[in-house]
């Protein structure tokens, strides 16, 4: 009685390479980038990069955080301009000065932060800005969009309002939008970071179908098994330079990792999580009693959630996304008010606390959406100090900027953030933004840590590093609630695993009893008693 959802949740852990495909390495070139150099001030984000994408090929771009992947693709899409180098599209030199040029050349790009208009329908979004003539015939457009979706095999309802769609569906709209504009080269920048496993499966299925129709894809991801599963070739960047390009069929994850970091990754030595000893005897640091909350639309999202996390324990919260994880995290972060129940941190009632009080009580928060917790136009130093500004105030209410910068320098070194204290956070690579948040939280040595998708967007090394940090906090005696869509991550780190389904906790299993099968059943709605 497994349903599709559950099956896909399981696949996460063991992604099998897809059956050998006819090789694409002799197809004609769709895009050729030669000697691309891009500088931001003194920083060289791309250093004489050569990149060749063949027709009908899925080509991975791999590299550590800040290696220059996004920059290279933004150049191809006309968002940045290379300082040196040339681009050829279908063998002809191309001057790409804006996304408009790129679109005209058949290049489309989908980023993590979608450019969709939420109150409009899917069809309206797809034709928006791509409508010959002045008047918009919506009925006809909607019809055309529906046809295109059917032909391309992209499942999405053209009449649905974008604001009602899930992240995965929105991504499909973005892809449809690019293809509707006749893209034959599609750039996907970390498309899977925001998807649940089932949606990843769907995405891969559509990509393979589109590939057969001759679409070329640039696929950026930090997950090596995804790269192994879907791509034909891999180009690895390190520090802005190309390390090499290899055929996926002829390489291994270990080799790719080695190319990325420039040395072989020693397996991280870490104490195997043990069941927190005698946790029942001690009182929990974090305790939720029958917490309920509503979502943005006012519909119930949490229904009487009760959960305990003890000192020195990591509790993983597993579940298919959209089952209340976001709201639960927000309630604990102090940005969403519960409608019922109580939240206790070390005995202190935080049910109606605001973010300042939550932090005061010793709760560290790693939020799901980094853009909702960083002021993008502030500097790294300012963002790192923002949560505890009062500590930087000297006489007369003056902010000690020197100390703020010093503090930032120290965290930048400790967490290997690729940035300077005075850089605006907006200019950081995705993974480095995430590190800023992590540094800000972990340096406080919180009593209770609420970590939502803490490794999203991080490269392999940084992911290992953060997981190590979480275990370190646990050893120190922190109570950690780890909310993750990555079942691997939860199985690797958690002492106990709670499964959330439609806003209810369906069961809490000690790790040693938590097999993927049992978790899968709970995640798809079974109750613990039925196992």
């Amino acid at each position: 009685m497994r349903d599709a959802r559950q099956a896909s949740a399981l696949r996460m852990a063991r992604c099998t390479p897809h059956p050998m495909q006819p090789t694409t390495s002799s197809n004609p070139l769709a895009v050729e980038m030669r000697g691309i150099t891009k500088r931001f001030g003194a920083l060289v984000a791309n250093d004489r990069v050569d990149f060749r994408l063949r027709r009908g090929q899925i080509h991975a771009l791999l590299g550590e955080n800040g290696a220059g992947k996004t920059t290279l693709m933004r150049i191809l899409y006309g968002l940045y301009h290379a300082d040196e180098g040339e681009i050829r599209v279908d063998g002809r030199p191309a001057a790409i000065r804006s996304p408009k040029d790129a679109i005209a050349l058949g290049i489309g790009m989908v980023t993590q932060h979608f450019a969709l208009v939420p109150p409009l329908t899917v069809a309206e979004n797809v034709v928006l800005g791509y409508n010959p003539g002045v008047r918009l015939n919506l009925a006809a457009a909607s019809q055309k969009v529906a046809e295109a979706a059917a032909r391309l095999g992209i499942e999405v309802d053209p009449r649905a309002l974008v604001k009602d769609l899930s992240v995965g569906e929105r991504q499909r709209v973005e892809i449809l939008k690019a293809l509707y504009r006749n893209a034959n080269v599609l750039i996907l920048d970390e498309p899977t970071a925001v998807l649940v496993p089932q949606e990843v499966d769907q995405l891969f299925a559509s990509l393979r179908r589109l590939q057969e129709h001759g679409l070329s894809v640039v696929f950026i991801s930090h997950k090596l098994y995804e790269v192994m599963a879907i791509t034909d070739q891999v180009t690895v960047l390190r520090g802005g330079q190309v390390v090499g390009t290899v055929n996926t069929a002829e390489t291994t994850q270990a080799e790719l990792a080695r190319m990325m970091v420039g040395r072989s990754l020693a397996p991280v030595e870490r104490t195997v999580p043990s069941l927190a000893t005698g946790s029942a005897a001690r009182s929990p640091l974090l305790r939720l009693e029958g917490v309920s909350a509503v979502d943005n639309k006012g519909l119930p999202a949490l229904k009487g959630v009760s959960l305990e996390v003890h000192s020195g324990e990591i509790v993983g919260l597993a579940g298919v996304s959209g089952n209340g994880q976001t709201e639960l995290a927000q309630v604990l972060e102090g940005v969403r008010r519960p409608t019922a129940g109580r939240i206790l941190v070390d005995g202190q009632d935080l049910t109606h606390a605001d973010p300042a009080q939550v932090m005061q009580a010793g709760v560290g928060r790693i939020p799901e959406d980094r853009h909702a917790s960083l002021v993008l136009d502030f500097t790294v130093a300012q963002n790192l100090a923002l949560e505890h500004l009062d500590e930087y105030v000297v006489g007369g209410g003056r902010l000690d900027k020197g100390r703020m910068r010093q503090h930032a320098e120290q965290l930048i070194a400790e967490y290997q953030i690729k940035a300077r204290p005075d850089d605006r956070v907006r200019t950081l690579s995705g993974g480095n933004m995430q590190k800023v948040i992590l540094a800000r939280v972990l340096e406080r040595r919180p009593k209770v840590l609420v970590a939502a998708q803490p490794t999203r967007g991080l490269d392999v090394g940084a992911t290992e590093y953060v997981r190590g940090k979480l275990l370190e906090q646990r050893e120190r005696g922190a109570a950690i609630l780890l909310i993750s869509e990555d079942l691997d991550e939860i199985l690797e780190l958690a002492d106990r695993i709670a499964v959330i389904y439609e806003g209810e906790i369906r069961g809490v299993l000690p790790r040693r009893e938590a097999t993927p099968e049992r978790l899968g059943l709970l995640m798809s709605g079974a109750r613990q008693e039925q196992l």
Binding site: R97, S373, E387, V393, G397
Partner: protein, 353 residues
């Protein structure tokens, strides 16, 4: 050949030149109007920009003209930085002027050391009071402050008219203007036999304080966070509603000071034309100045210059005095357009075959 607009940030050295570019462009555009009245644009701009600086008297006059703008501009900057789009400096100025008059009329027995602080505090509080309702409506009910503050400008003007045509009508002349305030309530002159008065110092002090608060205090950083990204600010523990409320009230208070300035420094009584649009010009000052107190100061001085110049240019060349207003309005539009150059670039290129 085709002209295209591309998204490409301007190099760092170019940015400070953008306001200058705006001024030059504005002159080119408005010279058409000067030509229409058969005057020489170069002469006209000489009188606008150079003549006022050539004598001590007119330099002082530039400072006098800039004084209320320094205050309303700073008021608008403080609100805009916190994301409170206060379009109501005009109404808040009128409220401050009314309070200053009410106090000033009763100060006949008080020495200046009592009268002046009372008027200043009263005007500040009145400006705060005038913005209180829109501010509360914004933070509590999410009602758009652009509309409410704008509407309250008309209410303020009508209320002042009602006062002047009713209880405060001048008993001697029967004009719709208030009696004169007490001599001890009048701002002392900074320079004898000129119009430059204490209000100018007041404005400089306010600017210095606002500059310090915005750039060097925790409150200033929180205010900017709340203005730029309320969601992230709230997450980081900033009490966004309270911060925005404070920003709105202080902004209203500063605009109220501009009203005190006009009553106690220039007119000595209340008339319904007391403002002369300084509240709206404050928005231009804030925008031209890039929402920074220093930029705003330069913008206010520049507008004071054009204001002074428009009088001498009309005297010398017979150009209508309203040309100054046209120039200011054009300047605002051109500045907004050139600000885009910070992020975009206009490119001329040959069509590829």
């Amino acid at each position: 050949m085709s002209l295209r607009i591309e998204r490409r940030p301007a190099p760092a050295w170019f940015r400070p030149l953008i306001p200058l570019l705006a001024v030059v462009l504005t002159m080119v555009i408005t010279s058409a109007l000067v030509l229409l009245v058969r005057a020489n644009p170069l002469h006209a701009y000489y009188f606008f920009l150079v003549e006022p600086l050539s004598s001590r008297v007119s330099v002082i006059e530039v400072l006098v003209k800039a004084t209320p703008l320094l205050l309303t501009g700073t008021a608008v900057i403080f609100a805009f930085v916190g994301g409170f789009w206060n379009i109501g400096a005009e109404g808040q100025l009128l409220a401050g002027a009314t309070a200053a008059t009410a106090i000033g009329l009763h100060m006949h027995d008080a020495p200046p050391i009592v009268a002046l602080p009372l008027m200043i505090v009263g005007g500040f509080l009145a400006g705060m009071a005038w913005v209180l309702v829109p501010a509360l409506m914004k933070v509590r009910l999410a009602i758009d402050e652009v509309v409410t503050t704008l509407l309250l400008n008309s209410v303020a003007l009508l209320a002042v008219s009602a006062l002047l045509n009713g209880p405060w009508r001048d008993p001697i002349s029967q004009w719709p203007q208030s009696p004169e305030i007490a001599a001890s309530a009048i701002f002392p002159k900074l320079i004898p036999r000129s119009r430059l008065h204490l209000g100018f110092i007041l404005a400089l002090v306010v600017i210095a304080v606002v500059w310090y608060v915005l750039n060097h205090t925790a409150f200033g950083l929180r205010l900017r966070a709340a203005g730029q990204s309320p969601e992230a600010a709230r997450f980081a523990g900033v009490k966004v509603e309270r911060t925005v409320l404070v920003a709105a009230l202080v902004s209203g208070g500063i605009a109220g000071l501009a009203g005190v300035n006009e009553v106690a420094g220039i007119h000595y009584h209340l008339i319904d034309a007391i403002s002369g649009g300084h509240g709206y010009t404050g928005i231009i000052v804030a925008t031209l100045g890039g929402l920074s107190p220093l930029g705003g100061t330069l913008a206010a001085l520049f507008i004071g210059l054009i204001d002074t110049g428009s009088q001498s240019v009309s005297r010398a060349l017979g150009v209508p005095i309203y040309l100054g207003d046209v120039i200011l309005a054009t300047l605002l539009l051109v500045t907004l357009a050139t600000l885009l150059l910070q992020r975009y670039r206009i490119v001329l290129r040959r069509r590829t075959a």
